[in-house]
C-alpha cells in the first residue's frame, strides 16, 4: 500500500465547501470500490450500484453527520493552530532575547522604570483629578468662595450671617451646608486624654452630600436646636482605631471637652470633607447669629451646596452674586467689596494640588515617550543587525506578517515582563513613596491601585511594546531580500529609512530629556530660593506642641491664664530652655483676619480691611527668634483686665502708621465698633505667616492673656540643645498644670514647617528623578546609535584612513553626526520647554519660566553628556585598521 502523502498541516484552513467536497469524495470512493468488487463478483453494474447503496445504510444522514463533525474539527484545529503559532513565536522570542542579555536588561530596566513611574503617578492623578468625589452625584456639588479686595483670588471661608442670608434668599441650590473646624479634647474611659480634630457641620451636611452613615444615623435638624443633648457622628478611622470598631458604639457616650456626647452614627470609610476630622458635631449657627454686627466680620465657615436639577452653575452664581451685592450695600463695614462665587466642589477641594499633579503626570508621560524611543532604537539596531537572519527566513517562505509578528513578539514579551514588574513596583512602591511625604496629599484622595489604574498600567506596557516593536519591525520586514542576502552583515547598516529613523529617535530622546531637565531645573531653583527665603524667624532649636484647654471650667479666663502661665513659667525656668511662648498658629500656617482702626485716623476706605491677626503669649517671639524692632514685648504690666496690649509687625507699621511712631498709639481691633481701645506696645520683625512663598503682610499680635476666648495654643520652646530632648519637660509641665489635658503634634518647628513644603518637595523630587533617568536614557541612546553606526562603518573608516584621512578628521566626522542629531533634539526640546514653561508658573518661586540660567545650564549639561556619549564610539572609529578592513572581504 502506498504511503499517503504527508503534509505538515494537512487541511489548514479548509472552507465549508471544501469540507463538503472532501466528505462527498470519501463516501463516493467507498461506494465505487464496493461497486467494483460486486461487479467483479458478477453482478450487473446497475444491480451492483443498488446493492452497494443498500448495504451502506443511511448515506444522506452520514454525509450530513460527517460534514457537521468535520466543520467542528476544523474550527477547533484553527484555534489550536493559532495558539501553536503564538506559542512558537513566543518561544522563539524568548530564545532570541536570552541570547542577548544586555539588550534584554536595558529594555527591561527602561520598561520597569517607565511603566512603574507612569502607573504610580497615574494612581495619584486618578485619585486627585479623576476619581469621583465620594459623595452622591458629585457633579452638582459646589463650594462657596468670597473674594475681597485683599484676597482677589477668593477665600473659601465666609461669615455665619452671610451664610444664613445666602441660604434664606438663594433660589438655584437645593441646599447649603457649612462646616467649621475645631479641636476637642477626648477623655477616654482609661488612658491619657487626646486632642482630636473635629468639624462642626450644619445638620443637613450628610444629606446634602448624599452619604449615608455606616452605622446609626446622621444629624437631624433637632440636633442643633437650643438645649438639644450634644451628639456626635464618628469617622470610620476613629471608630476602628480609637474605639476598636465596637459594633455597639451607637448610643454610647464620649467625653469631649468635659461634656458627654452621645454617638448617633459612624460614617463610612474614606468619608471626609477634605479636612482631617475624627468626628463631626452639629454646628450651632444660632450663637453666631445672635450677634450679627460682630460675627458678620468673622469669616470662618466653609460653605458648600448642591445645584438644583436643571440649574446651571452660571445661573446659581448670578443668583448668589445678586444677594452678595445686596449684602455689600447693606453691611458695608463687613461686606464692602466682597463678592461671592461658586466653584465646583472638586476644584475647591483639589485646589493648588492640580498643578503639581498634572505636572508630574506630564513628566512621567514624557518619560514614557523617552522609553518608547529608547526601546524602538534598541529594537531597530537589533533588527538591522539581524537583517540577514530575517532575509533568510523570508527566503524560506515566512510571510511578511509572520516576520513582523516575530519581532513584535520579542517586544511584547519584554513589554509584558517589564510592564508586569513595573506595575508590581508601582503597587508596592506608591505607598512607600507617599509615606515619605505624608502631608503631600490631603485625606480626601486615597491613592489605591484600583482596577482602572492597573488596566492603564497594562495598557501602557502593551502600547509601549507595540509601538517600540512595530516601527522597527515594519522597517525590517520591508528589507530588500536580495540585497540583504548578498551583503555581508557588515554592510547591513540599515537603509536610508533605518538611518533616518534612528536619527529621529536620538533627537526625540535628547529633546524630551531637555524638556524634563528644564522643568526639574526650574523647580529646583525655585525650591532652593524658597527654602533660603528670609522667613523672619529662626526655626532651628524649637520644640512645638499643641495643647487645648477644654472643659466648662475653662470658661473662666482666670483658669485659662493660670494654666498657660503655669506651663510657660515651668518651662521658662528650666535651665535648658532659652524662651517659652505660645501662639494660635505657627508661622507659614496662616492666620485669622481682623480689621484695625487707628485712633484719630479716618477709616480710609482704600486701606485693606483685613489685617492678619494672631494671638500669642509669653516669650513667643524670643522663642522663635523674631527681633523686636522698637518698643517692648509683652510683660507683667499686661494684665488680663488691663489695657489691651498688641504688637504689630513692620508691614503693619508701614501700612497703618506711615508718618508716625506706632508705639504707644491706640488702636481698635475686630468687628465690634464699641470695643475698647488697645495700645501698640512694640513692633516686631516681619514673619512669613501665610506660607513660605507669601511675603509678609501687615499683622497684629494681641496678647493671649487678654483674649482667652481662643482655647487652643501651640507651645513653642527654644532650647539650648536638641529640642526633642525637651519633650518630657513639656509633657510634665502640662501634666502638672492639668492632668486632664492632652498634648498633640509634639515635634520640632523644622518638622512642623517641613510638612508645609511636603507637596512641593515631593513634586520636585519626582521630577528630578525623572530628569535624571531621562538624561541617562538620552546618553545611552545617543551612545548606542552612534556605536552601532561606527561598528557597521568600520570598513569605510578604514578605507578613509588608508586613503590618507587623518584620525582627527574621522573623529570629527563621527562627532559631527552624533552632535548634529542631538543638537536638533536639544533645540526642539528647549523650544518645547519655553512654550510649556508657563504651565509651571504656579509652582515657581522667584524664578521666571523662561529662566535663562536654567536653560543655559541644561543646554550645557546635555551638550557635554552627548559629547561624551559620542566621543567613545568616535574614538573607536579612528582606531579602524586600514589594512585589516581592506583584507576583510
Amino acid at each position: 500500500m502506498p504511503r499517503p502523502t504527508s503534509r505538515l498541516f494537512p487541511f489548514l484552513s479548509r472552507s465549508r465547501r471544501q469540507i463538503a467536497r472532501e466528505v462527498d469524495a470519501e463516501l463516493a470512493f467507498h461506494l465505487e470500490m464496493r461497486v467494483e468488487e460486486l461487479t467483479r463478483a458478477g453482478l450487473a453494474p446497475d444491480a451492483a450500484r443498488r446493492a452497494a447503496r443498500e448495504e451502506f445504510g443511511d448515506l444522506e444522514f452520514t454525509r450530513a453527520y460527517c460534514r457537521g463533525l468535520d466543520e467542528r474539527t476544523e474550527r477547533a484545529a484553527r484555534t489550536s493552530g493559532a495558539l501553536t503559532e503564538l506559542g512558537q513565536d513566543l518561544r522563539h522570542a524568548w530564545r532570541t532575547i536570552r541570547r542577548s542579555p544586555g539588550y534584554a536588561a536595558a529594555a527591561l530596566l527602561t520598561l520597569v522604570l517607565a511603566v512603574g513611574a507612569n502607573t504610580a503617578v497615574f494612581s495619584v492623578t486618578r485619585a486627585v483629578l479623576l476619581r469621583p468625589l465620594p459623595y452622591g452625584s458629585p457633579g452638582s456639588l459646589v463650594s462657596l468662595v468670597e473674594s475681597s479686595p485683599s484676597y482677589p483670588g477668593g477665600l473659601d471661608v465666609i461669615s455665619t450671617p452671610n451664610f444664613a442670608d445666602y441660604r434664606a434668599a438663594q433660589r438655584g441650590l437645593t441646599g447649603l451646608a457649612a462646616s467649621d473646624g475645631r479641636s476637642v479634647t477626648w477623655r477616654p474611659a482609661s488612658g491619657d486624654p487626646e486632642l482630636l480634630d473635629a468639624l462642626s457641620v450644619t445638620t443637613n451636611t450628610f444629606d446634602l452630600l448624599e452619604v449615608r452613615p455606616l452605622l446609626g444615623r446622621g444629624f437631624s435638624a433637632a440636633d442643633s436646636a437650643a438645649g438639644a443633648p450634644p451628639v456626635a457622628v464618628l469617622s470610620y478611622d476613629f471608630w476602628r482605631n480609637a474605639l476598636g470598631g465596637a459594633p455597639g458604639v451607637v448610643g454610647t457616650t464620649l467625653t469631649l471637652n468635659d461634656l458627654p456626647y452621645t454617638v448617633v452614627g459612624v460614617m463610612p470609610r474614606d468619608f471626609t470633607l477634605g479636612q482631617d476630622a475624627a468626628l463631626w458635631t452639629p454646628l450651632d449657627l444660632a450663637r453666631d447669629l445672635a450677634h450679627p454686627e460682630i460675627t458678620r466680620k468673622q469669616f470662618h465657615l466653609r460653605a458648600f451646596a448642591r445645584l438644583k436639577p436643571g440649574v446651571s452653575l452660571a445661573l446659581a452664581r448670578a443668583d448668589l452674586q445678586a444677594i452678595s451685592r445686596r449684602l455689600a450695600a447693606q453691611y458695608p463695614e463687613a461686606d464692602r467689596g466682597r463678592v461671592v462665587d461658586l466653584v465646583p466642589l472638586r476644584t475647591a477641594l483639589v485646589g493648588d494640588l492640580a498643578t503639581p499633579v498634572l505636572l508630574v503626570q506630564l513628566a512621567t508621560g514624557l518619560l514614557l515617550l523617552l522609553a518608547c524611543a529608547n526601546l524602538a532604537n534598541l529594537t531597530l539596531a537589533r533588527a538591522v543587525a539581524r537583517r540577514r537572519e530575517l532575509a533568510v527566513r523570508a527566503a524560506l517562505g515566512a510571510g511578511r506578517w509572520r516576520q513582523v509578528r516575530l519581532l513584535l513578539a520579542e517586544s511584547l514579551l519584554l513589554a509584558v515582563a517589564g510592564g508586569g514588574l513595573g506595575i508590581a513596583l508601582a503597587v508596592a512602591g506608591t505607598p512607600l513613596l507617599l509615606g515619605l511625604e505624608p502631608g503631600a496629599l490631603p485625606p480626601l484622595f486615597p491613592v489605591r491601585p484600583d482596577p482602572v489604574v492597573l488596566a492603564i498600567g497594562v495598557l501602557l506596557a502593551l502600547a509601549t511594546g507595540v509601538v517600540s516593536g512595530l516601527v522597527p519591525a515594519l522597517g525590517a520586514a520591508r528589507a530588500d531580500l536580495q540585497a540583504s542576502l548578498k551583503e555581508n552583515g557588515r554592510a547591513a547598516a540599515g537603509g536610508v529609512s533605518g538611518e533616518r529613523l534612528r536619527r529621529i529617535l536620538v533627537a526625540v530622546q535628547v529633546g524630551v530629556a531637555a524638556v524634563l531637565l528644564v522643568g526639574a531645573g526650574l523647580l529646583a531653583r525655585s525650591f532652593a530660593r524658597l527654602t533660603r527665603a528670609p522667613l523672619g524667624f529662626e526655626p532651628d532649636h524649637v520644640l512645638t506642641a499643641e495643647v487645648r484647654v477644654s472643659g466648662e471650667r475653662y470658661d473662666d479666663p482666670a483658669l485659662v491664664n493660670r494654666f498657660y502661665d503655669q506651663v510657660l513659667g515651668a518651662l521658662g525656668h528650666d535651665p535648658g530652655v532659652v524662651a517659652a511662648g505660645a501662639t494660635m498658629k505657627l508661622p507659614t500656617r496662616g492666620w485669622i483676619t481682623s480689621n484695625l482702626v487707628v485712633e484719630g485716623e479716618p477709616n480710609d476706605p482704600t486701606r485693606p480691611n483685613d489685617i492678619g491677626y494672631l494671638l500669642v503669649r509669653g516669650d513667643y517671639f524670643k522663642a522663635i527668634g523674631v527681633p523686636l524692632i522698637e518698643g517692648r514685648f509683652f510683660d507683667d504690666e499686661d494684665t488680663p483686665n488691663g489695657v489691651g496690649a498688641v504688637l504689630i509687625n513692620q508691614a503693619a507699621a508701614r501700612a497703618y502708621f506711615p508718618r508716625l511712631d506706632p508705639v504707644g498709639r491706640r488702636i481698635r481691633l475686630g468687628p465690634d465698633p464699641s470695643a475698647a481701645w488697645s495700645v501698640v506696645v512694640g513692633v516686631v520683625g516681619d514673619v512669613r505667616e501665610q506660607g513660605f512663598d507669601v511675603p509678609a503682610a501687615p499683622a497684629v499680635y494681641p496678647d493671649h492673656v487678654q483674649n482667652t476666648w481662643w482655647r487652643s495654643l501651640i507651645l513653642t520652646v527654644r532650647t539650648r540643645g536638641d529640642p526633642l530632648r525637651a519633650e518630657p519637660l513639656v509633657r510634665a509641665a502640662v501634666h502638672d498644670a492639668d492632668p486632664t489635658l492632652a498634648l498633640r503634634a509634639v515635634r520640632t518647628l523644622d518638622e512642623a514647617l517641613g510638612s508645609n513644603l511636603a507637596a512641593r518637595r515631593f513634586a520636585l523630587w519626582l521630577v528630578l528623578c525623572f530628569a535624571g533617568v531621562a538624561l541617562a536614557l538620552a546618553a545611552v541612546g545617543t551612545y548606542g546609535v552612534l556605536a552601532f553606526t561606527v561598528s557597521s562603518r568600520t570598513r569605510e573608516f578604514g578605507v578613509r584612513l588608508a586613503l590618507g584621512a587623518t584620525r582627527r578628521s574621522v573623529l570629527l566626522l563621527v562627532l559631527r553626526q552624533g552632535v548634529t542629531w542631538a543638537g536638533v533634539g536639544l533645540v526642539a526640546g528647549l523650544a518645547g520647554a519655553a512654550v510649556g514653561g508657563p504651565l509651571l508658573r504656579g509652582l515657581l518661586y522667584a524664578v521666571r519660566p523662561a529662566d535663562g540660567a536654567t536653560f543655559a545650564a541644561v543646554a550645557g549639561l546635555l551638550v557635554s553628556v552627548v559629547l561624551v556619549a559620542c566621543l567613545v564610539p568616535a574614538a573607536r572609529a579612528t582606531r579602524a585598521d586600514p589594512v585589516e578592513s581592506m583584507r576583510a572581504d
Binding site: F29, E54, T62
Partner: protein, 115 residues
C-alpha cells in the same frame, strides 16, 4: 469481504465497539475507509461486519476526538483516497479499551461456562 451483498447492520453492535474495532484496524498501518471495512470483514470472518454509514460516522467522530488523523493519498488502484492514521492518544485509547474488552469478555465467558 465477500463478493455478495450482505446485511451489514448487526443491531447489537454498539457504537463503542465500532470505535475500538477501527482503532485496532489502524494499529499497524494507515488505511482508507474501504480498506478498514474489508479488514474488519476478513478478520472477523464476516461476523463483525460494519455498514458504511456506521463506519464513516465513527471515522469522523474519532478524527474529531483526535484519536485518528486523516490525510489524502493515492489508493492501490491509483485513486484519491482519504487515509486514516492512529495518533498517539488514539493508540493509548486502543490499549485501554482493549484491556477493558478482554476483562469484560473473560467475565462473560466465566459466567457462561458450566461450573
Amino acid at each position: 469481504m465477500s463478493g455478495e451483498p450482505v446485511d451489514r447492520t448487526p443491531p447489537e453492535m454498539l457504537q463503542g465497539t465500532v470505535d475500538i474495532l477501527i482503532l485496532r484496524a489502524l494499529a499497524w498501518d494507515s488505511m482508507h475507509g474501504y480498506a478498514i471495512s474489508a479488514w474488519l470483514d476478513a478478520r472477523s470472518g464476516g461476523v463483525l461486519a460494519v455498514n458504511g454509514a456506521a463506519l464513516y460516522q465513527a471515522l469522523h467522530r474519532l478524527e474529531h476526538r483526535r484519536w485518528i488523523a486523516a490525510s489524502w493519498g493515492r489508493s492501490e488502484n491509483n485513486r484519491k483516497a482519504k487515509y486514516y492514521t492512529l495518533t498517539p492518544p488514539g493508540r493509548a485509547r486502543l490499549r485501554a479499551e482493549s484491556d477493558a474488552w478482554r476483562r469484560y469478555a473473560a467475565a462473560v465467558t466465566s459466567v457462561l461456562s458450566p461450573a
